[in-house]
């Protein structure tokens, strides 16, 4: 299954773990499942519309990606703050 990696403060909200192995076929599915499994993180990554927050970036195996990007079993997904937000 794909691996999702988080940094603070998302790591803290997701059970103090930076690495999460999650089942799903797209970036959006992984992020929704992550927020469902860790209610404290709900609304921190995805907004009420289900969209990735504007100043968060997602990388799949190091490549900038969007929510609809497909992911395979051994892919690595990083969720990181964008430089545009600070």
């Amino acid at each position: 299954m794909p691996l999702v990696r988080l940094r603070e403060p998302l790591k803290r909200l997701a059970g103090e773990r930076s690495e999460h192995v999650i089942e799903g076929g797209s970036v959006g599915e992984l992020l929704r499942e992550l927020e469902r499994a860790h209610p404290a993180a709900k609304g921190w990554i995805l907004d009420e519309r289900g969209e990735l927050r504007q100043h968060l970036n997602v990388f799949v195996n190091g490549e900038p990606s969007q929510q609809d990007a497909r992911v395979e079993a051994n892919d690595r997904v990083d969720v990181v703050p964008a430089i545009s937000g600070g």
């Binding site: 403060p9 998302l10 404290a40 609304g43 921190w44 990554i45 907004d47 009420e48 519309r49 289900g50 969209e51 927050r53 504007q54 100043h55 968060l56 703050p81 964008a82 937000g85 600070g86």
Partner: protein, 359 residues
């Protein structure tokens, strides 16, 4: 910390600063929280001692947090979000207000939404009647967004609340938010042609406060115009004559005097700084019939400050009324004598979004 000291919650572009001090000299920064994140507003609820802060992380979205100790752990309040699966999302929480009923708090945000808490601020619930108001499709945002920034309870009547939304005008409820009606008669929007249909006019209300001893009286800083209502917000009368400019955001009252109001005029909507390079607070003690400048101790030379709507507050009343305001320059000023003289509370904070006073 002595309880006689004044406590200021200063929300800034780069975090919350808690200041303590006594009028007349600079205050001490006793705590900082949410370093690096914009804090729109923060307030201590004197009923519980709890501090609430509205934080808009550019990365993780708007949240309300609360704590009993600003240097300790903060807990996220629940329910501060729009319904899932819709077309809109919560952009920012502009203000947190104490309700008249025990354990009741309100929060106002963009896009023109109201949240209510009945459990002392641990959980909030979205006011659906305002969200689903049939006129909402015609509401227009101001420069800062569609912001619900003024929440004005009625002392002793918890079902009666007035709201200010930029730029959707004044809204009134007499049934605890089950229904809402406009309260805009008399407000004149000089920024649209005079023959614009009333329901097409975006009414850019900047700030509203209610007189504590005469609750049917309210004062309102408009986007060009200072107004007073003597009938609980049903109608408004322009009282801006005598001010160097009737544009501005900040507004304060003396709770002991229903004829009192303080405003901080800015030049105009196209130039939102203090006129003539002078920082002056204007005071009325006759319900707006006349205004007097109060600038003793404030910068009077080459001072072009912007004071935002939530950045002016007060503590106490009458002769010992304390007034505090902060500017986007990062300076906070205070007065311990109802505006007769002023001192510098803090000089070098990040841009100030809001000030709330307690102690």
């Amino acid at each position: 910390m002595s309880t006689a000291m004044t406590e200021l919650m200063v929300g800034t572009r780069k975090g919350l600063f808690v200041l303590h001090g006594e009028p007349g000299s600079a205050f001490e920064v006793t705590a900082r929280a949410f370093a690096g994140d914009p804090v729109e507003y923060a307030v201590r609820d004197p009923r519980s001692g709890r501090i609430f802060a509205s934080v808009t992380s550019p990365f993780y979205g708007p949240k309300i947090f609360f704590t009993d100790d600003p240097e300790g752990e903060w807990e996220q309040a629940e329910g501060v979000a729009l319904p899932e699966g819709g077309d809109e999302f919560l952009v920012r929480v502009w203000v947190i207000a104490l309700g008249d009923a025990d354990d009741t708090l309100y929060a106002g945000g963009d896009p023109g939404v109201l949240f209510e808490s009945r459990d002392g601020g641990a959980t909030f619930e979205l006011n659906r009647p305002l969200l689903k108001h049939p006129t909402r499709p015609k509401w227009q945002p101001g420069a800062g967004g569609l912001c619900l920034h003024s929440i004005v309870p009625w002392p002793g009547e918890p079902d009666r609340v007035a709201l200010g939304i930029s730029a959707a005008g004044v809204w009134l409820t007499d049934d605890a938010g089950a229904t809402w009606r406009r309260g805009n008669e008399g407000l004149v929007a000089r920024y649209v042609p005079e023959d614009t249909p009333a329901d097409e006019i975006a009414l850019c209300v900047h700030r509203i406060h209610r007189a504590a001893t005469r609750p049917e009286r309210m004062f309102l800083q408009f986007h060009g115009g200072v107004y007073r209502s003597d009938d609980a917000g049903e109608t408004w009368k322009d009282i801006g004559d005598g001010l160097p400019s009737d544009f501005g955001f900040a507004l304060a009252l003396d709770p002991a005097d229903a004829d009192s109001a303080y405003v901080i005029p800015l030049i105009a909507d196209i130039d939102r700084v203090t006129p003539d390079g002078r920082v002056r607070v204007y005071e009325t003690r006759d319900a707006g019939a006349s205004w007097e400048p109060r600038g003793d101790g404030l910068p009077q030379d080459e001072a072009y400050l912007t004071v935002l709507r939530e950045a002016f507050d007060w503590r106490g009343e009458a002769d010992t009324l304390e007034l505090y305001f902060g500017a986007t320059s990062g300076t906070v000023f205070g007065s311990g004598d109802a505006g007769a003289s002023w001192f510098e509370v803090a000089a070098y904070l990040p841009p100030v979004h809001s000030v709330s006073a307690g102690g």
